[in-house]
Amino acid sequence: MATKQLDTLETVTVRFAGDSGDGMQITGDQFTNTTAILGNDLATFPDYPAEIRAPAGTLPGVSGFQVHFASNEIFTPGDQPDVLVAMNPAALKVNLKDLTAGCMVIVDTDAFDARNLQKAGYAKSPLEDGSLSAFKVYAVPLTSYTESNLKDVDLSVKEKRRCKNFFALGMMYWLYSRPIENTLDWIEQKWGKKLPEIAKANRTAMKAGYAYCDASEEFQVRFEVPPAPQTPGTYRNIMGNDALALGLVAASVRAQVPIFYGSYPITPASNILHALARYKNFGVITFQAEDEIAAVTSAIGASFGGNIGITGSSGPGIALKGEGIGLAVMVELPLVIINVQRAGPSTGMPTKTEQADLWQAVLGRNGEAPVPVLAPQSPADCFEMAFEAVRIATKYMVPVMLLSDGYIANGSEPWRLPDSFASLPEVPIRYRTEKEGFHAYGRDESTLARPWVKPGTPGLEHRIGGLEKQHLTGNISYDPANHQRMTKLRAEKVERVVADVPDVPVFGPERGRLLMVGWGGTFGSIHSAVRRAQRAGLSVAQIHLRYLNPFPKNLGQVLGSYDQVAVAELNGGQLRMLLRAKYLVDAIGINKVEGQPFKVRELLARIEELSA
C-alpha cells in the first residue's frame, strides 16, 4: 500500500445525496455522530422531499444531508459542499447548482445507466460529456463493489445493493480520517440481534468502502480536521425537535408537574410527539388528538386539571388552534404552543423552512389577545427556550408561543449538556388551596397571574370560561368599564413578562454604521456573515432576538445606536414591521422566501453593500 498524503483542513462541508430510499439520512447521521465525538464543531441540514418514496431515480425523489464540521467555531451547515456524494444522476443534477469549482464529486457509476439518466433528464451522461470538468470527479462503481464484497452474506442481490450507502460512508470515513468503530457499534445495536445478516452486510460494506479508498490509486490524499476548541463540558449532538422535547421534559421534572402534550401529526413538528411519547416514565402524557383544535383544547383541559398543557404543530395547524389559544388567554391558564414553522401559506412547502408565522404568533387571534412569543436560535437552543416557555407560561398563567422552524428542527449541532440538575432554573409552581380571600381572578401583585386551582380542591369550586370575566370574581360581565380594565390587565400581564426577558446582547461595536437584526433559526447564517464582515473591518454589529413579545428592555436603545438597521428574516418583513411600529426605526429588510436558509455569502454581500 502506497503511503498517502495527509492534509489538514480547518473546515469541510460534505453533502450526501441520493434517492429518498438510499439511506442518505442514516449515512449523514452516522458521519455526524462520529464527527461530533471527534470533537469538531459542526452543524447539519437535512433536505428531503415531502413524498415518503417519490419514484426512484427522479429529481423530486432526491434526499440530501449536509454536514459542516470544523476545527473552529461554526454556526451554519455551510453554504456549499466541498464534497458531494451523489448516488444517482438525479442526485447529481439537483445539487449541481450548489457546487463551486474544485469541489470533489463522488458518484456511483453503476447508477448512471440509460434509464436513470433519462429519468434525471440527461440526454447524455454528464460523466462523459465534459460538463463536470470544473470538479474533481471520482467515478466509482459503488453498487457493484458493494455487491462483490458481500458474496459471503446470505442476502438477496437487492438487499446487498441496498448496503451501498455504508460503502460510501466507509469511503468518507477514510477520506476525512474518521474511525469506523462508532458506526460499527451502532450497526450492532440496530440490527445485531434482530437481523444479523443485515448487520454483517452493512459492516462489511463500510469496511470495504474504507479499504477501497486506502488501496485505490485514485485517492492519494486524505484529510484531517482537528478538534475544535470547545467550552469544557459534556456534549452530545442534537436535533432541534429532540432538544425541544427534552427542554419540555426538563421543565416538567424541575417543576414536579407532569406535562400533557396534545398534538396532531404534521410536518415538521411530528417528531416532537414521537420523542415525548417515549418519555412516559417521566409521567409525560401524549395525546394524539383527532385534529389540531382538539390538540390545543385538550391541552387547555389538562392545564385546567393542573398539568402543564402543551400543543405543537406547524403554521396550518396553528391557524386552526387560534380560537383555542384565545380561550387560554381569557381563562388565564398556562399553555405552551409550539410552531415549527414551514414554508406557507396554506399547505405551502411542508418540508422547507420559513419564518413567516411571526405575525400569526403575535397578532393572529380575534380580539385583543396578546401572548408572549419566544424563538430558539439554533437546534441546541431549542432546549433552553422550550424550558423558558414552560417557566413563563406557569409563572404568568398565560399561553406562550414558541416559534421554531424546519431548519433548526431537523438540523443538528453539538449541545453542551447542563452540568447538573441543580443548574437548571427553578420552575416554581404553586396551586392555591386556601379558601381565605380566594378570588378566581384575583392577581399576584408582581406578575398579575391569577391563582391556579386544581379541581378537587375543597371549598374553591369556581367556574371559568371564554366570556368576559368580572375583575376578581370571574363572573360573567358585560360591563363596559370592566371589559376595558380586563383587556388592559391581560395586556399588562404579558408586558410584565419583560422582567424575565434578558437584555439582548450586542455582538460587535456598541455604536456604528450597521446593525444586523435577526430572530429565531437564522442566527447561524447572520452571525457567520457578521463575523466575516467584522474581520474585513466593516462597522457592523449583530443582535438576535429570542424574545419577540415582549421585546427585551434594551432593544429600543440598541436600535438607535447605528446609522442603519437591517432586519434579515425568511419572510417578507414581519419583524421589520413590528420594530418599525414600536420603535419608529427606519429599518430596511433583507428578506427571502425560497424555503431555504440564508446563505452566508448572500448576507455578507448585503452587509458589504449596506456598510459602503
Binding site: 467550552t231 416514565n281 417521566f282 385538550s298
Partner: protein
C-alpha cells in the same frame, strides 16, 4: 380524594349565579334534576367538573356549584378529554346542545366516544339553534322552516343515538327534560359507568321550537308514544302496557299483546349489552313507532384513561425517569478544561 360528604343536598349544587334561560325553557327542569342527581351520587362536590361548549345548554356550568369550564363552541369533549387524562379521579360531565355537539363539535364527540374516555356527555337536543336565534340544527326535522331555512330545510337530520352507537360509545341513553325521576336515574347510572357515556336529553325550546317533543311529554299522548327500555324485560308500552315490539326478520313491528295470538313471549327483550339491538331501536321512525327512552346500551370495556395511565405506570415501574440520564442518552463526549 376526599371522601364524599354524605350530607350533600340539591342546594349544595346551586351556585350564586342568576339563571338566565328563557322562562319555560326545558333547561330549568334538567338543571333541577341534575342538581339532585349530583347530590345523591356519593361524589364529593369538589371532584365534580362540568365542561360545556357554546349555546343555551352550555351556560349550565355557571349554575352548578362545582368546578366548571364554559369553553368554546363544540370543543367541550376535547377539553374534557384533556382534563380527564390529567385527573382521572374527577367526575367529568360534558354539557352541550345538538348544534354544539353534532355540528361544530361533531368530530370531537365522535372521537371522545370511540376512545371510551370516561366522560358523561349530555346532549340537550331541542332540534334548533336557540342562542343564535332560531336557525336549523343538524337534528331539525327534514323540511323544517326556520329563520335560516325560510322554505324549509333540504338537509336530512342526524340521529344522535345512532351516531353515538356507531361511534362506539359504551353507554348510550335517552331521557326527557321533564321526566325528572327518569333523568335523575339515568344520570346516576352514567355517573357509575366506566367509559364514554352519551345521554340524549329531549329538551323543549319554548321560543324557537316549542312543542317539538310534545308527543313524548304530553300527558295525553306520552303513554302511547314512549317505549320505556328496561334491561331483560319485554318491550311493552301504551295504555295498560298493551302494546309491544316484535321482530319480524330484521324489522321491528308494533303489535298488541293478546290480539292475533300475540303473547308476551313473542316480544323483543331488551338487552343493554347488544349494540345491534340498540342500533335497531335507534332507527325506528317517529311516525310509525314509539320513541325509546332509557338505556340503549351499557357495555363494560376498559376506559381510555385507564389505558393511558396504565402505560405510564408500566413505563415507570420498568424504569423511573432520571432526567440527567435522559439528557446524556446516546453518544456523548467530554471536553476537559
Amino acid at each position: 380524594m376526599t371522601p364524599a360528604t354524605p350530607t350533600l343536598t340539591k342546594k349544595d349544587f346551586v351556585s350564586d349565579q342568576q339563571v338566565r334561560w328563557c322562562p319555560g325553557c326545558g333547561d330549568y327542569a334538567i338543571l333541577n334534576s341534575m342538581q339532585q342527581a349530583f347530590a345523591e351520587m356519593g361524589i364529593a362536590r369538589e371532584d365534580i367538573v362540568v365542561v360545556s361548549g357554546i349555546g343555551c345548554a352550555a351556560r349550565f356550568p355557571y349554575y352548578v356549584e362545582a368546578y366548571g369550564f364554559h369553553t368554546i363552541h363544540g370543543r367541550a369533549p376535547a377539553i374534557a378529554t384533556g382534563l380527564k387524562l390529567s385527573r382521572p379521579e374527577l367526575s367529568v360531565w360534558v354539557v352541550g346542545g345538538d348544534g354544539d355537539m353534532l355540528s361544530i363539535g361533531g368530530n370531537h364527540l365522535l372521537h371522545a366516544l370511540r376512545r371510551n374516555v370516561s366522560l358523561k356527555i349530555l346532549c340537550f337536543n331541542n332540534e334548533i339553534y336557540g342562542l343564535t336565534k332560531g336557525q336549523a340544527s343538524p337534528t331539525s326535522a327534514f323540511g323544517k322552516t326556520t329563520y335560516s331555512t325560510p322554505m324549509g330545510t333540504v338537509d336530512r337530520p342526524i340521529n344522535p343515538i345512532s351516531v353515538a352507537l356507531a361511534a362506539e360509545a359504551t353507554f348510550v341513553a335517552r331521557t326527557v327534560d321533564v321526566a325528572g325521576e327518569h333523568l335523575k336515574a339515568t344520570m346516576m347510572r352514567a355517573a357509575k359507568h366506566e367509559g364514554s357515556c352519551f345521554v340524549e336529553i329531549l329538551q323543549n325550546c319554548v321560543i324557537f321550537n316549542d312543542g317539538v317533543f310534545d308527543k313524548v311529554t304530553n300527558r295525553d299522548t306520552k303513554e302511547e308514544s314512549v317505549l320505556p327500555l328496561e334491561h331483560g324485560k319485554p318491550m311493552r308500552f301504551g295504555k295498560d302496557r298493551a302494546r309491544g315490539l316484535r321482530l319480524r326478520g330484521l324489522k321491528p313491528e308494533v303489535v298488541t299483546v293478546g290480539e292475533q295470538g300475540v303473547t308476551e313471549s313473542d316480544l323483543l327483550l331488551h338487552d343493554e349489552s347488544d349494540r345491534s339491538l340498540a342500533y335497531l331501536l335507534s332507527r325506528m321512525d317517529k311516525e310509525s313507532f314509539p320513541t325509546p327512552v332509557g338505556v340503549f346500551l351499557s357495555q363494560q370495556l376498559p376506559s381510555y384513561e385507564r389505558g393511558v395511565m396504565g402505560q405510564i405506570e408500566r413505563a415507570r415501574a420498568k424504569r423511573a425517569g432520571d432526567l440527567m440520564e435522559l439528557l446524556h442518552e446516546g453518544d456523548t463526549w467530554t471536553v476537559r478544561a
